[in-house]
């Protein structure tokens, strides 16, 4: 059986997510501007935290916690977008039957 292309693509995405601990730790574009121009402190924290700041809570090893957060997010996003798209084609498939 031929492997589905998107399974390989998903594996590539998971590999990319596993590289996340190597990401630059410098502030990103918006954060840098907000710091330089003095409005960073107007930012408010979220009223709740799930996997805040891409670090899975309760894991002492920061690298592992980041990779885990990245893998979970990648799976969730694949599932959500696939699911939304699948639902949006449901009507057409019902009609085709």
């Amino acid at each position: 059986m031929k492997t589905k292309w998107w399974l390989i693509a998903l594996l590539v995405c998971l590999a990319v997510a596993s590289l996340s601990p190597l990401a630059s730790s410098s502030p990103d574009g918006l954060e840098r501007v907000a710091e330089d121009k003095g409005f960073i402190d107007t930012g408010q924290e979220a009223p709740f935290q799930v996997i805040a700041d891409y670090v899975f809570p309760g894991i002492a090893n920061e690298t592992l916690a980041t990779i885990l957060a990245g893998l979970i997010g990648t799976f969730v996003l694949f599932g959500v977008a696939y699911g939304v798209a699948w639902l949006l084609t449901l009507r057409r498939r019902e009609l085709a039957k």
Partner: protein, 226 residues
């Protein structure tokens, strides 16, 4: 980027627009416009989406999420990361890209506390709607000049991705100014300047992915655009 937290434990962590940067009028306006945009994207996708689009939607959302975690360094102790809207728009069309970016931004907001709840409308407007449409039409414009050879597609991908980041950052700067966060003459050059550099990274990643698709499954670039 998360290392940033370890180095500065007391520091707030900003990637997408957090709550507090934008005033009520800007929050309300962007929420209404984005809700309308996403609604229209759903309506059009319901009409035009085919079964072969479905895995591509999932893969693009997964890739954009994963790649957004990989901040790359640019000049002066600043980093940038992929937005991904131009890539999604080139592969699936601007309205499908709006849907994909909305999935990513909503998940980042709800699960990863990246981007404020109230600022979600603005984040979807900037990185979903503005970046998707500018990326899509810049790509079409560029490939109409350069031709649809491999070279034309790669250069078109680079240019449109760069332009989409620049435009999204300019719109973000305008929102910040309207909200009273910072005067336009201060925040606009700062945002546009940094994002003109970040856009180079966006352009390189976008061209690299297009090149990979062309080399492995060129037919996936020819899916009907939504």
């Amino acid at each position: 980027m998360q290392l940033h937290l370890i180095e500065n434990p007391g520091k707030r962590y900003v990637i997408h627009i957090p709550d507090g940067f934008l005033n009520v009028a800007t929050v309300a306006t962007t929420c209404v416009v984005s809700a309308g945009g996403v609604g229209n994207a759903v309506r059009l996708a319901n009409k035009k989406l085919r079964e072969k689009h479905v895995p591509m939607m999932g893969v693009l959302a997964a890739f954009i999420f994963a790649a957004q975690m990989l901040n790359f360094p640019i000049a002066g102790g600043t980093s940038g990361h992929l937005i991904g809207a131009a890539l999604a728009a080139i592969l699936l069309g601007p309205w499908a890209a709006v849907l994909i970016m909305s999935c990513v931004l909503i998940a980042q907001c709800l699960i990863f506390q990246d981007g404020g709840l109230l600022a979600l409308g603005a984040n979807i407007f900037n990185m979903g709607i503005v970046a998707s449409f500018s990326g899509y039409y810049l790509y079409r414009l560029a490939t109409s000049f350069l031709g649809s050879s491999r070279r034309g597609k790669l250069i078109g991908g680079f240019v449109s991705a760069w332009g989409s980041v620049l435009l999204a950052s300019i719109v973000c700067a305008i929102e910040l100014t309207v909200s009273g966060a910072s005067p336009i003459m201060v925040v606009l050059p700062a945002m546009a300047g940094i994002h003109a550099l970040i856009g180079i990274g966006e352009g390189l990643i976008t061209a690299a992915v297009i090149s990979l698709v062309l080399a492995t499954r060129a037919d996936l670039l020819e899916l009907q655009k939504i």
